[in-house]
Symmetry: C2
Subunit: 343 residues, 2 copies
């Protein structure tokens, strides 16, 4: 391997003599094989080309509505989960309105005895616009973790803009804490859902409302201002988000002209003191690797019991899948909640 | 930013149509600015060109001896720390032989009251060959963490080859546990030192010797066989190790023909059950990011209380420096030890 790299990089080394005088680092083109240190399932996912639509951005409200999926961002659009997935995980899904918000209660056939009085609230991802984020993650958590999970079907653009999604998650939470003791409850989600988990805590703190006993924030879109080193280092390395592109355009569309640095949109810019114990998840190829580790560091600086798990060779949200690493990730999150939730 | 990226990647997108049929991902050349989300000190480090010697490999024993530094790998070669650094951290350094091994006892002027009966053992880095790894990290831990630290000056090539370094760390540990209760002791190090921490635990387990109460393994060279996705993804992104090159050649030189997959050389391939609580540290630009997160996952799979911290925008060993992030990293490690060590 060494001999090969010596030959392959002979040209690059000549270039680097220039780079030495330039604080911007010149990284040559490279070919990345799928990571043989990940499971075959993750290798297959990483072996796909980059998402074809990563930088295709709608121009009209109709195009945005089509992107948002069934219902054009209106409640009911994400559905309660496909029956095959529900069956595979042994989970029942029921639509219900909680404090005026559309939700799905996901109940596993075998709730763990220690989880009988516990309830998790799930916030799906999808760049604030996509319906496809859906309840899949909630089903996995219900199945792997044997918890009851209430998944929030928050309103999305172009049906409703900021702060509709945040309002819906906050209101669903405020309704859910009448169904269980908040000391026995956690809030979790991935990507836009991971950011909404954090911004919901900001809002609950502001309102003086009961906080979750723990939170799980997976690869959160915690900084919509474009800052974060992995936007550069993992550009084109991540085959899901790929680069700053459509997902960020969707978040900006949701923001609807509101300041992107507002902690209710970019929760990393808020005060994280007093946050509940938190578990953060990401992958080494994730475009939001930096976003995730920055939130972890800032939580630790604020004295919060915060745990970080980074999965090998995974692009954005890679752990939020039916893979061995997905099982591992959700079991870790479930254990973390078990440690911090009352019974 | 979106508009710019649309233009900049027009050409790349054409290329990606091909990539979609090829499981190997084609990542175009890119320019990385220093990470503005890290401290100015880390930005300055990352703003340097890549290490000029990253792929320059010695040919003769004399060249290897020159690389090993003063003493050509013999004990005494790393020195006890420069006086300016010792003074700055308020640490005293004394050379002493422990169980036949050359060491330096690093004693802070103000040992924390809870640390009076505690002792940390430090294993320096330097790809198994460099003397420059030295005691700097031990001094930082003694200063930031207010612990007594015994830093092991293990033998290095070409003075001595595998398993000399491992033998020396193991023997220093076996001597050190006569100076303090192993329940009050931790073992820590970075890079080759981080790997030696892990391989030492493998050996102590094999010997039935007392284990440390906690370990700190920073960006460990835990897999010398070339596996790990960040060898590809962070190639030329990390300006310290840069790519598979000289550092790996040094480790191979130390291995001296021994199987690189032996857990005493690549500790990730050993059985990690029964390992002490562990804190792992790395950076998002680190060539050994994958090595570090793989060890973290494998420890967690083995049921070990293992914590991971990943610092934003840092190349290999970036936290092991006199930077704000360095202070933060060592304070986190010190806190982790405080939680797990007896008094």
């Amino acid at each position: 391997m060494r001999a090969r790299s010596l030959v392959a990089f002979a040209l690059s080394v000549a270039t680097l003599a220039v780079a030495a005088q330039d604080p911007a680092r010149e990284v040559p083109a490279r070919t990345l094989p799928p990571p043989d240190t990940a499971s075959p399932e993750i290798q297959a996912r990483e072996g796909r080309g980059v998402a074809a639509t990563w930088n295709v951005i709608p121009n009209t409200t109709e195009e945005w509505a089509a992107l948002a999926g069934r219902g054009g961002g209106a409640p009911g659009g994400i559905g309660g989960g496909d029956q095959a997935t529900l069956d595979r995980f042994g989970v029942k899904s029921e639509a219900m309105t909680v404090n005026g918000v559309n939700t799905y209660m996901l109940t596993p056939n075998d709730i763990a005895p220690e989880n009988r009085n516990r309830l998790l609230v799930h916030v799906h991802g999808g760049c604030y616009v996509l319906g496809g984020g859906g309840v899949g993650e909630g089903i996995r958590m219900a199945g792997f973790g044997r918890y009851k999970v209430l998944s929030v079907d928050y309103r999305r653009p172009p049906h409703a803009f900021y702060p509709a999604a945040l309002d819906d998650v906050v209101n669903a939470w405020k309704g859910a804490i009448k169904m269980a003791d908040p000391k026995n409850m956690a809030l979790f989600g991935t990507s836009a859902g991971g950011a909404l988990v954090l911004s919901t805590v900001h809002r609950l703190k502001q309102d003086g409302a009961p906080l979750p006993a723990a939170i799980g924030s997976g690869t959160p879109m915690a900084d919509l201002t474009g800052h974060g080193d992995s936007f550069a280092t993992n550009r084109m390395v991540d085959n899901v988000l790929v680069g700053v592109g459509r997902c960020d355009a969707m978040a900006e569309y949701y923001a609807h002209g509101h300041d992107l640095k507002d902690p209710f949109l970019s929760p990393i810019y808020g005060d994280l003191h007093g946050f509940p114990p938190a578990i953060l998840s990401t992958g080494t190829r994730d475009l939001l690797l930096s976003s995730t580790v920055r939130v972890h560091r800032k939580l630790r600086q604020a004295g919060v019991d915060a745990q970080l798990q980074v999965f090998e060779g995974q692009s954005h949200g890679g752990y939020n899948t039916d893979t061995p690493e997905g099982k591992e990730a959700f079991e870790e999150i479930a254990k973390f909640f078990d440690k911090h939730l009352g019974r």
